[in-house]
Amino acid sequence: MKKVYGSAAEALDGLLFDGMLIAAGGFGLCGIPELLIAAIRDAGTKDLTVASNNAGVDGFGLGLLLETKQVKKMISSYVGENAEFMRQYLSGELELEFNPQGTLAERMRAGGAGIPGFYTKTGVGTVIAEGKEVKTFDGQDYILERGLVADLSIVKAWKADETGNLVFRKSARNFNPPAATCGKTCVVEVEEIVPAGSLDPDKIHLPGIYVHRLIQGEHEKRIEQRTTRKREEA
C-alpha cells in the first residue's frame, strides 16, 4: 500500500470534514506538524476540535487555524503564548477544555491502545475532578479519565521510511507518538523519507502500522524562546 503522498493537501484529501476531532503532536512550536496545519487552513475545514498540548502562537502552528476561526474547541494543557486564542476564548467564541499535560498524553496513548478509560490521581481534589468518577484503590483516590480517539492525527517526525516507520529527533518527539496512535487515520510529515531498509529496525521510535499517509517537506521549525549562554561563561 502506497503511503507516500506528494503534498500536504494531497495527503489530507478525503480525510477532512466539518466538526471533526483532530489530535496534533508537538509541544509549544517544537515538533509541530506545521505543513499539515497550513494545509488544513487552506482546506477551510470548520468547527474543529483540536487536542494538542498547546495552541501555537499568533501566525504560526495552530495559531493559523485560530485566526481563520476554524477551531471550535481546544483540548490543551497550556495556551499562554497566543493573544488571538485568549481573545476568542474570553469573548466566548472558542471552547477550551484544560487537561493536565500527562492526562492528555495518557488519554491519547490509551485511546490508541484500545483502553477507553483509566484512573489517575492527577487532578484529584481540583476542578479537573469535577463531574468525574472517583474510585479508591488501596486507600488513595483516583479519577476516571477517558481514552481519546481522534478522527485524524497530524504528526511531525524527523525521518520515515516508505512504509511509515518513524524516527523522531530530540525533544521534538513529545506528543507526536501518542497523538499518532490515537487517530483513526494518521498523516505524518517528515524532513526526509528514506527507502525501506535504510533505518535500523532497532532504532525505530514508532512503527509504520500507525502511519497511513506520509509527506516530506521543508520545515520552518520556529524557536519560541531563544535562550543562550556566552562562551566566556563556559
Binding site: G80, L104, G125, P177, K221, R226
Partner: protein
Amino acid sequence: MAAETKGWDRNQMAARAAQELEDGMYVNLGIGIPTLVANYVGDKDITLQSENGMLGMGPFPYEGEEDPDLINAGKQTITELPRTAYFDSAMSFAMIRGGKIAAAILGAMEVAENGDLANWMIPGKLVKGMGGAMDLVAGVGRVIVVMDHTNKHGDSKVLKECTLPLTGKGVVDRIISNLGVLDVVEGGLRIVETAEGVTRDELRAATEATIVD
C-alpha cells in the same frame, strides 16, 4: 523588584532548595526560582527531567548553536548531556505519575497547612493552563515549594486554606520561602529553620497557617 524582602533572596532560596537534593536523584525543576536550583547542586550527581520528554537536561546553548528540536518545558532552547535520553510525553508522565521522579521543586501562589497547593490560575485573570504541574504534584516522590512568604501587599501566602483553585490536594512536603523552611506535618506546619536574620516569631507572624511545635 522586591528589594525590601526580608531573609533570603532568590538565589539564596535556590541554594537552600539545592540542599534538598541527594546524589543520584532524578528531579524536575519548575519555572522561575526553581530553575536557579540547578546552579547550586555542586558535585552532586543530579539528573534533571524536562517533562516534554527528556532526562539529562543541559545548560542553555552557546549563541548560534540553538536547536529548534531541543527545548525544555519552558520552551527555552537547551542542550543535551552525555547521559541524555529522549522519550515521548506519555512515557514522560508515566515516570512522573509512576513515582520514578524523586522530587519536584515548584513555585507557588498559595500553600495551605494541609499541603494543598495553588499555582496555576487566578480566577478572572488570564488563564494559561496547568501544563504538567498537576501531574507532577500528584506523582513525584517529594514536592518542595519555593516561594515568597508574603505577597506584595504583605499578606501571607502560607495559609490555613488556599483561596485559589488547587493544583493538588495535600501534596506539598516542604516549603522553602524567603523567611525559612517549613514542613507539612500532622496538624499544620513545623518550622525546620529560619532564614538568616529572621526570628521564629517573625516567621510565625508572616504565616497564616497553624504552626505546630
